[in-house]
């Protein structure tokens, strides 16, 4: 798929594409092979052995008219090299409903024997593209074509599309790589007289070939498939791309003319106006703030109460006027208040307005969340950000790891009002890029975001149980979460009804505690302190197993160790980034009077430069005491040492599978 992107992205990149192309028949109309495709049909081999398909070419030509109208021609061709590669015989182009139009969209299948057929119109669909499940309305659309059931191994599937756009966004990016290996990837820009462009190449992307004053192109060849391994450093998740900004003849241009930005301050000044406008109070905001706060409250309490209120505003996104940077503009705060819903920028804006009504200043902060992409400070574009949070001016008495010091604006507490599971003072999103864009007029610009100490990420589990003579067990389990783990635990619990959560817990217990019945599960939620605990009581008729009435066997590790990640066993190219954390468990199981300990595994201690583990079973006062402690350190492990990581976690897993064996006391 082509990845041309010229629009800022806000609030999530989950794309739900609705398409339905079943049951259409292909009319085999003979066609001439498009001339642009002919040279690429001669491509032999595949840069990646074993790959299902090879992209022969993916390219885009952007032609700009003097009035700013942009026409984009996209071309794409993929050769199917293996039967499983047939699923790649499809394509789509993205556009915006109001400002763009797909002028033409044609596709072909070229067989091994050189004959070509057109893919009929019945195989083409047009669908709305949802940026997230709670998008109420948006303008993103996709025109798609599929020949998945028609192609055979050796065939080439190709398409060409022409899209016209009338928006004012003057920048876009081109990513050279994609999920398949690519033989040829290029983007070209043709400008009218008087226009200029500024380009930046990142992560080994080439510099421009300036064919003339008006035509520039960027080309790469023989690219491997874009794959990123989990737990890899940012630098290994970066792929070559070029960012292109357009500069009209009369720069700086008015808002109505397509243009890019020359500085972060310019972006800050531009969009601060929208936020200031959105924060205007018609009376409802100050009235609501007064209702929530009362009079004479400590400023810190005011901030905390208003922050909590906005966190509870429902999330709904409405994306309008995207082509003219509508994705950056919040709705009026009093409207968000009335509706009690909004997206990330709406909630940031609402909180800002409520705080302002109490005389507390704050500034919207555009950040990049989720992909943990590297931010490029030299490329001044709002499209690097996809989320909006808030930086709140606070006094010296507030201490928090989420505070940044601004040279002009002072101490700013960074807070995310969209995250309903993390209190003020913490930032739970450990996938934020390093910098954000502070929208504070001429004082705004890029700021470094606070780094949350990852060592705070801790989980402690305690189990107290009683094993009966018949092998049944009654137990209470308490799980306490600290640091980053709190938000996800809170979310996991809140999103389910009690009955559903009990069933989930039963399923988790099943491998060790078969037929477990969870009778109760409650949360002990200290939201403002950033602590969360779950307390569950459960029982099972068949936890301990009698072996020939002589030995009673059970596993003391009731649940899977939460600290063990799911890892691929294959070879690795990128270093492995271990996330810091501590996972501690203590369990105490009272055994039947008629039993005594027969056999248990020896204590296990495993120490490595990146993690340590200690597990042991003791027998004391008629109880089996089991403890395990897994400590992970924040380190980067070279790829060649990845087998050691696998080995470490395998040993931990093995150590935790060992059962305890009790025997009947003599004479009983």
């Amino acid at each position: 798929m082509l990845g041309l992107s010229n629009l800022p992205k806000w609030c999530g990149k989950i794309i739900l594409v609705v398409s339905c192309l079943a049951g259409v028949s292909l009319v085999a109309a003979k066609e001439r092979i498009p001339e642009w495709l002919v040279p690429f049909l001669k491509t032999s081999g595949n840069s990646e052995e074993g790959s299902e398909a090879l992209v022969l070419t993916r390219n885009s030509l952007i032609q700009l008219a003097a009035n700013g109208k942009m026409t984009t021609r996209q071309r794409y061709a993929v050769r199917i090299d293996k039967p499983d590669g047939r699923k790649h015989a499809k394509g789509n182009v993205f556009y915006l409903e109001k400002s763009s139009q797909v002028k033409s969209f044609k596709a072909w299948i070229i067989s091994n024997d050189g004959s070509a057929v057109a893919v009929p119109k019945e195989s083409i669909s047009d669908a709305a593209v949802y940026s997230n499940a709670l998008e109420l309305y948006g303008e993103h659309r996709s025109r798609a074509v599929s020949a998945v059931t028609r192609v055979n191994v050796g065939d080439v599937f190709a398409y060409e599309a022409m899209i016209e756009d009338q928006g004012t966004l003057g920048e876009f990016t081109w990513s050279f790589q994609e999920a398949l290996p690519v033989s040829h990837s290029s983007v070209s820009v043709e400008l009218p007289k008087g226009w200029q462009l500024v380009d930046r190449s990142f992560d080994t992307a080439p510099s421009a070939d300036h064919h003339s004053a008006r035509l520039s192109s960027w080309t790469m060849r023989s690219l491997p498939a874009r794959k990123s391994e989990p737990y890899s450093p940012l630098s290994f998740r970066a792929f070559p791309f070029v960012a292109i900004g357009l500069i009209p003849p009369d720069a700086p241009a008015p808002k109505s003319v397509r243009s890019s930005y020359s500085s972060w301050r310019e972006i800050s000044e531009r969009f601060t106006l929208d936020y200031d406008s959105a924060a205007r109070d018609t009376g409802s905001l100050s009235m609501r703030a007064a209702t929530l706060i009362g009079e004479g409250r400590d400023e810190n309490v005011v901030v905390a109460k208003l922050a909590r209120f906005v966190q509870e505003v429902n999330y709904i996104s409405i994306a309008l006027d995207i082509a003219n940077a509508g994705g950056m503009k919040p709705r009026p705060a009093d409207q968000v208040l009335r509706c009690n819903y909004g997206d990330c920028k709406d909630k940031a804006s609402l909180l800002r307005a409520l705080l302002l009504s109490r005389g507390i200043k704050s500034y919207p902060l555009a950040v990049s969340s989720g992909n943990e992409r590297k931010l490029h400070p030299e490329w001044t574009s709002p499209s690097q950000f996809n989320h909006c949070i808030l930086a709140i001016a606070v006094g010296e008495d507030i201490q928090s790891d989420a505070i940044i010091q601004h040279p002009v604006l002072g101490r700013l507490l960074v807070f995310d009002p969209t995250d309903g599971y993390t209190p003020l003072g913490l930032l739970a999103d450990n996938r934020l890029a390093s910098h954000g864009l502070l929208l504070a007029g001429s004082d705004g610009g890029l700021v470094k975001l606070p780094e949350m100490p990852r060592e705070n990420n801790r989980f402690v589990r305690e189990v107290v149980g009683r094993l009966a003579q018949d092998g049944s067990i009654q137990a209470t389990m308490t799980e306490r979460f600290f640091g980053y783990s709190v938000a996800s635990a809170r979310r996991e619990f809140s999103r389910r009804k009690q009955s559903d959560f009990k069933q989930l817990l039963s399923r988790w217990l099943q491998p060790t505690v078969s037929n477990a019945v969870v009778s109760q599960v409650n949360a002990d939620d200290e939201f403002d302190e950033g602590k969360f605990a779950l307390v569950a009581t459960f029982s099972s008729p068949s936890y301990g197993r009698w072996m020939q009435d002589a030995l009673l066997v059970f596993k003391p590790a009731l649940l899977k160790n939460r600290g063990i990640p799911i890892l691929d066993k294959g070879q690795r190219k990128a270093p492995f980034v271990m996330q810091a954390g501590a996972f501690i468990e203590r369990s105490e199981i009272l055994i039947p009077d008629l039993c005594e300990l027969d056999d248990a595994s020896r204590p296990v201690t495993i120490e490595t430069p990146f993690a340590t583990y200690h597990g042991e079973v003791l027998f004391q006062d008629g109880k089996v005491l089991f403890s395990r402690e897994l400590i992970l350190k924040a380190v980067e492990i070279p790829a060649e040492n990845y087998p050691q990581v696998l080995q470490f976690f395998e040993r931990v897993y093995q150590a935790e599978q060992s059962p305890v064996v009790l025997r009947r006391k003599k004479g009983i």
Partner: protein, 665 residues
């Protein structure tokens, strides 16, 4: 009841201004509506205070469906569910008069503004235009009631209406009103399921009016009877006024209609006779002939309803809508029903007593003779009679051999064409030995607890058909991935390699899977012992009935047999401590479970043979505790563990006879 013929004069094509559907509106919201009324509501995130659906289809080509929902949101999860409401609609339909308000417990009301309702095209293809009207009710928070209504105007007329009253959440009041078109020469039928108190007669306002109250949340239970027969619902539809309504007469006329259909479309031609004769030999038995003709239709005619067939078929431009057998054979393609017609023609051309028949899909509705409804029997198959025995064939079923119908059509009856009588032929479920899953594994268990070896799986009957449907068109890599995923469901840490599948495309042969399996940490280790489950292929499989109680009857898809044969070479230096095997079980008519476990200490060999025969097709809800007890007992026995203890002295090299030692549990 005698046959009715009613004369209705409807002035078709007159456009009349249709006023808003008149029905008593829902009463206003009261404080009592905010109060939880029972434990089911207490446990729910959402309570439907009222659901009201008014349907006026009295004008041909113009229908109005008015929906009114009133929902109490009890939690944040409930709020999130209703934070965005989407009303999809397609070409020929418009959504109008959307009214939304949020009502707070203190009586405060917030209205949604017209500009807060969005309209968007979500999908457009050459044939499809799908749009959606969406809105986010304002002021939502736990404890409020969201009240919304809208009108759906359609430029079409429906001929079949079905409505289910229950939902996954509690419903306090549900009303469904319908005014159908008056169609000359037709009769409008109404039937209810699991709602015996519903009045199925039209009211004086010419509407059918159905109301139910205090409906608990729908409970989904494993192996349930068809939905339509487990929850309160109504089905209303048009039928010809000449159709009999008395069941005996209805079925007689249905059989006759099927017979006439066969006569009309199954006419034998010279070409058909020549083709049929070329496919069979004179010495073939009737069964053999039928198999050959069936296989010809299944393999040589493109089934346009199958995924493969849909892409391979030629477009049907101007062909007849109900082609004859000769036409279908000439075009070499057809849907499932048409392939049956083609087989009928071929069978008749060699003088087999072949008839058309219709099957009953028991996952939709179970046939009962008193239920004289046309939707009870649907798909066409061919029945061939030999003496008193019927053999039914469905050439449209890609992965089923001749003489085998899809399991959904078994355990019920088939309606066979006959000129003179209602002919229902019982179609029993296939016996368990026809559907088998035989798994053989030869393994080595290491001292480190690793189990490794080769596995061969052979499946027949419905088990094979299900597997073939899954694997048939997949590439070798995809098949391998599917097998690995299937194994990992019960052995999460397993590594699967060298996976090969045979006969995935051949309906006549058993399905075979072979693969290499390695399971790290299969055995649990202590200092001196290894604990492991000999029944490798049953590890991690839970009983299908975890709940203690059940509301609905139990219906299993089909009867089956499972046979596991496991050979495990035990690690040197270990002996089985107190070898014992679980006892078998005999469940009487429901089947049995047998375990044969043999251990050769000298050979260090363990051999397990485990078989389960399941012969229970259906059981009422009150039998659930017994059924659960049986399957729980099977699961417990499958989970039987053995202990290997490190022995003091090394094992001798000679292999000796394996012996068994079993005990009762």
């Amino acid at each position: 009841m005698r046959c009715k013929t009613q004369f209705w004069w409807v002035f078709l094509g007159v456009l009349s201004v249709l006023s808003a559907v008149r029905a008593a509106p829902l009463p206003e919201v009261t404080p009592a509506d905010f109060v939880v009324k029972n434990p089911a509501e207490e446990a729910s995130d959402v309570v439907f205070v009222a659901v009201d659906v008014n349907v006026d289809e009295s004008e041909y080509g113009h229908a109005e469906w008015v929906y009114h929902y009133r929902v109490l949101l009890r939690s944040d999860r409930g709020v999130e569910r209703f934070s965005k409401v989407e009303l999809p609609y397609r070409r020929g339909v418009s959504i109008q008069d959307v009214k939304v308000r949020t009502i707070k417990p203190d009586g405060g009301v917030q209205q949604l503004r017209p500009n807060e309702i969005f309209d968007r095209e979500v999908l457009r293809t050459q044939d499809v235009r799908q749009r959606v009207k969406s809105f986010a009710p304002v002021g939502l928070e736990p404890g409020v009631i969201v009240d919304y209504r809208y009108r759906e105007v359609r430029d079409s007329t429906s001929f079949l209406f079905s409505y289910s009253f229950q939902r996954s959440d509690p419903v306090r009041y549900s009303r469904y009103r319908l005014k159908p078109l008056s169609l000359p020469g037709t009769y409008f039928m109404a039937r209810s399921f699991r709602a015996p108190d519903l009045n199925l007669k039209r009211g004086q306002d010419t509407f059918y009016n159905f109301e139910l109250r205090d409906l608990p949340p729908l409970r989904v239970e494993p192996f349930q009877p068809p939905t339509i027969q487990t929850q309160p619902s109504v089905v209303l539809y048009f039928t010809s006024s000449t159709v009999e309504t008395e069941p005996a007469l209805f079925w007689k006329s249905s059989s006759r209609a099927l017979h006439e259909l066969a006569q009309a479309r199954g006419k034998v031609t010279k070409e058909m006779r020549m083709l049929a004769e070329s496919l069979v030999s004179p010495s073939d038995t009737i069964q053999e002939k039928l198999i050959k003709l069936h296989d010809y239709c299944r393999l040589n005619l493109i089934n346009t309803e199958s995924e493969r067939g849909a892409s391979a078929s030629k477009p049907k431009s101007k062909g007849p809508t109900n082609p004859s057998a000769a036409e279908i054979l000439k075009s070499r393609q057809g849907n499932g029903d048409e392939l049956a017609v083609a087989l009928l023609g071929l069978a008749r051309s060699i003088n087999l007593d072949a008839r058309l028949a219709r099957t009953n899909d028991r996952t939709f509705i179970f046939f009962q003779a008193a239920m004289a409804e046309p939707f009870v029997f649907k798909d066409l198959v061919v029945g061939v009679k030999e003496g008193d025995t019927w053999t039914f064939c469905d050439p449209g079923a890609e992965y089923l051999p001749a003489g085998m119908l899809d399991w959904r059509h078994t355990g019920t009856s088939v309606l066979v064409g006959d000129p003179a009588q209602a002919l229902h032929v019982p179609m029993p479920v296939m016996v368990s030995k026809e559907t088998t899953r035989n798994v053989k594994g030869t393994f080595t268990l290491g001292e480190d607890g690793v189990l490794e070896g080769e596995v061969v799986v052979t499946r027949t009957g419905y088990s094979a058909a299900a597997g073939k449907r899954q694997y048939a068109d997949a590439s070798a890599q995809t098949r391998s991935d599917m097998i690995a995923a299937e194994v990992k469901r019960f052995l999460p840490g397993a590594e699967v390699s060298k996976a090969v599948i045979r006969n995935a495309e051949d309906a006549r042969l058993p399905l075979e899977l072979t693969f290499h399996l390695r399971v790290p940490d299969y055995a649990e280790r202590t200092g001196n012992r290894l604990f492991f489950q000999p029944s490798v292929f049953r590890k991690g499989i839970r009983s299908p009935f975890p709940e203690e109680a059940r509301l609905s009857a139990i219906v299993f898809p089909y009867l089956y047999q499972e046979i596991d044969e496991v050979i495990i070479h035990l690690p040197k230096g270990f002996v089985v401590e107190s070898p014992h095997a679980p006892a078998g079980l005999n469940f009487g008519a429901a089947g049995d479970y047998q375990v044969d476990l043999r251990y050769g200490e000298k050979a260090g060999l363990l051999v397990l043979k485990r078989s389960l025969t399941w012969d229970l097709f259906m059981a009422p809800a009150k039998s659930y505790p017994d059924v659960k007890k049986i399957l729980d007992a099977v699961t417990t026995r499958d989970g039987h563990l053995l202990t290997l203890k490190r022995s003091a002295s090394p094992e001798p090299e000679r292999l000796g006879e394996v012996t068994a030692k079993s005990s009762t549990e």
